[in-house]
Symmetry: C2
Subunit: 403 residues, 2 copies
């Protein structure tokens, strides 16, 4: 049996997220170089690599061997390289597989990378690519059912129709209002303003958010994560290898990936995130009460409130109240999305899961600068990808602890 608790994050690196003219390999190179240097290693020390990416095939044309093409200019070759895709949960899926290899004792030192280039001179290209995170044969039917006006590639992501449908259902379930959703944006944009790697970040008011352009009722532009390019990487080491190398880092206490549509449909707080969280808490021997901070998948603002409930941070229907309490703000007892989250930091889809884990690593090491959570010891990262029927196609929860 693998030693599930003997895997450390000894290196973390990520680019600034932005709409960028930089190539995918350039972005990946920066994140990997920073992560490997942070671990005190050289490229030749890496024994395997797990590379998450969502849409390079459609955006850059590099459909196959994406990881090999990104890593070879860095001198990373010869070792096993696996290209892993799970839509917006691609990077956390790559992390899980790398963690599994180290926990199993198959490798001592591995690289996990997530990289994405979504921006394109033709905006419709990136939007259409994102739209393939659903069953493409069911897009039209799904759009009709959601009532959001259908896929409209080139103007907005099809996913915003899905999120709008979720938001309306959540409003009915919890009493959440558009003001609550705007409050999530205000909080996360404020955090992003303290994160030099965030794409956006500003001191906004609820009014600013509500009066930004409507995308699909009830979502305004500022309630939706932006189109972003970027990369994030971590180096994982076995506890023994880390000791030998004098490397330190937070410990992965739980790594869970599930897929959706296997849950009690009468409970809106259940679903894949709830199942993944329950499994992760069990694996870690920890509960929501032990968390000091969390990064969650706020691809749209309402999602953060829904996830509060799925992770057990709030009781069913209690998402709006938790937000209103201020507890999830910086300075509260459970800051959420200190990085700015997807809403402010940006959402280069295949990089997002590892960007969350970089933030968790920096928080647990006390390296989070102006957004540091005092004395953070336990952090959670939740990352979802794709959509089928009525749940995410892939859902991941990782829990890290400072030692």
């Amino acid at each position: 049996m693998a030693d599930l608790a003997a895997v450390l994050v000894t290196g973390a690196g990520m680019t600034k997220f932005a709409k960028s003219t930089r190539s995918l390999r350039d972005l990946a190179g920066e994140a990997v170089r920073d992560a490997v240097a942070d671990a005190g290693l050289e490229m030749g020390d890496l024994q395997a690599a797990y590379v998450g990416n969502g849409v390079a095939g459609l955006v850059t044309g590099q459909e196959m061997i994406r990881g090999q093409v990104m890593l070879r200019p860095l001198g990373i070759e010869g070792i096993p390289i696996f290209n892993v895709e799970n839509a917006c949960a691609s990077a956390s899926s790559a992390l899980h597989l790398g963690w599994q290899a180290v926990a199993a004792g198959m490798h001592d030192i591995v690289l996990c990378l997530g990289a994405e280039k979504l921006s394109h001179e033709d905006k419709a290209v990136g939007m259409a690519a994102i739209g393939t995170a659903v069953d493409i044969e069911a897009q039209a039917e799904m759009a009709e059912r959601l009532g959001g006006g259908g896929a409209d590639a080139g103007k907005r992501s099809f996913f915003m129709d899905i999120y709008a449908g979720m938001a309306r259902a959540y409003m009915a379930h919890s009493g959440a209002t558009r003001e609550h959703f705007a409050g999530v944006v205000v909080k996360n944009q404020g955090n992003g303003a303290r994160n030099p790697r965030a794409q956006y970040g500003a001191q906004l008011t609820v009014e600013d958010v509500l009066t930004s352009r409507e995308i699909v009722d009830p979502l305004t532009l500022l309630m939706c994560s932006p189109i972003s390019d970027g990369a994030a990487a971590v180096v994982l080491m076995s506890e023994d290898a880390a000791r030998r190398a004098g490397a330190r880092g937070p410990r992965i206490r739980a790594s869970v990936v599930v897929s959706g549509n296997q849950h009690d449909k009468s409970d809106p707080s259940a679903g894949s995130a709830g199942r993944a969280a329950a499994a992760a808490y069990a694996q870690a021997g920890l509960g929501p009460e032990d968390l000091d901070c969390a990064e969650v998948h706020d691809a749209s603002a309402p999602a953060e409130l829904i996830v509060y409930e799925q992770l057990g941070l709030a009781p069913p229907g209690g998402g709006p109240e938790l937000l209103a309490s201020g507890r999830t703000e910086l300075g509260g007892d459970l800051p959420v999305n200190t990085s700015g989250g997807l809403l402010s930091k940006g959402h280069p889809i295949g990089a997002t899961g590892l960007a969350q884990v970089c933030e968790a690593t920096w928080q647990l090491r006390g390296q989070a600068g102006a957004r540091q959570v005092d004395g953070a010891r336990v952090a959670l990262a939740q990352n979802g990808g794709g959509w089928l029927e009525e749940d995410s196609a892939a859902m991941s929860v990782h829990i890290l602890s400072a030692d």
Copy 2:
């Protein structure tokens, strides 16, 4: 540490390979249903799935969550599903990751699936998709260096230029002739004629092969693997779970994936296949002398001879002599590509690695019908994918034994 020798292949299923009008999910469904039934299980018994595919993003448009979309109609949901890509080695990479999860004790029963749809009403679409298994920014430069006339999407796969360059170098190294390459085709087409799941298969002569249309000197049409659609799947179980369920199957004795371009360039028989084979033999505690049959990656006919040397079946330069000896024919002491290989069985790229392992499974169980190798106890499968600089981007070797 994981128990590397405690993973069994308890179920195998594959479609007939063919140019087909069937959808990817239809092909995948058949292979998965057959594999799960073969293991005596139901879909609900599966605990995780690892899904290999190369080019659905470009050929069908389903860029993301390919596995979830293929598996959901079968009722496979909720469990972890990972989409894995390594070009023509996608399926063996998916197998490796599934094997790792079972060997690590993380799951007891997993599904590994490879599926590909390469045929398209516009032949250029499939050809262009295959061409993304190289660094697309280096295609033109690579074509010039190979001297094969350059990428000519829509007429032939860019890879045939790469293979032709390899073939010419191999001819200089070993004294191999076009007649030897034709001999590989005659052998493998003869085997394919005994395999009801093979796309082609015929009793050909060397003359037939040499007089078929020239693709790129020295390759003729019959020396090149065809455009194929198809799917192959296996169920892996831990030894304990198999015992409890009364399931049986060959044992995975070694599972190795590496990437290329880290080798002694003065030795043409080295490279990624040589390194992967050496690691696999060490993991299995077996050597080439222990093999009873092998499936190798004959994407073009010369590759089979090159791989003979890389796997240690023949000494350096000894590929042509091994072929000429008849030892690798059915009835010889080391039949290679009993299934027909990629040349005759077909090469739906993301399915190929698992189709090889299906053949190995059937041989080791005595279920290979008219192409059965008497008393086969140990089988090897070698599967390569993509191309960078001067080696495969991904290379896998699996070794299975009857018990």
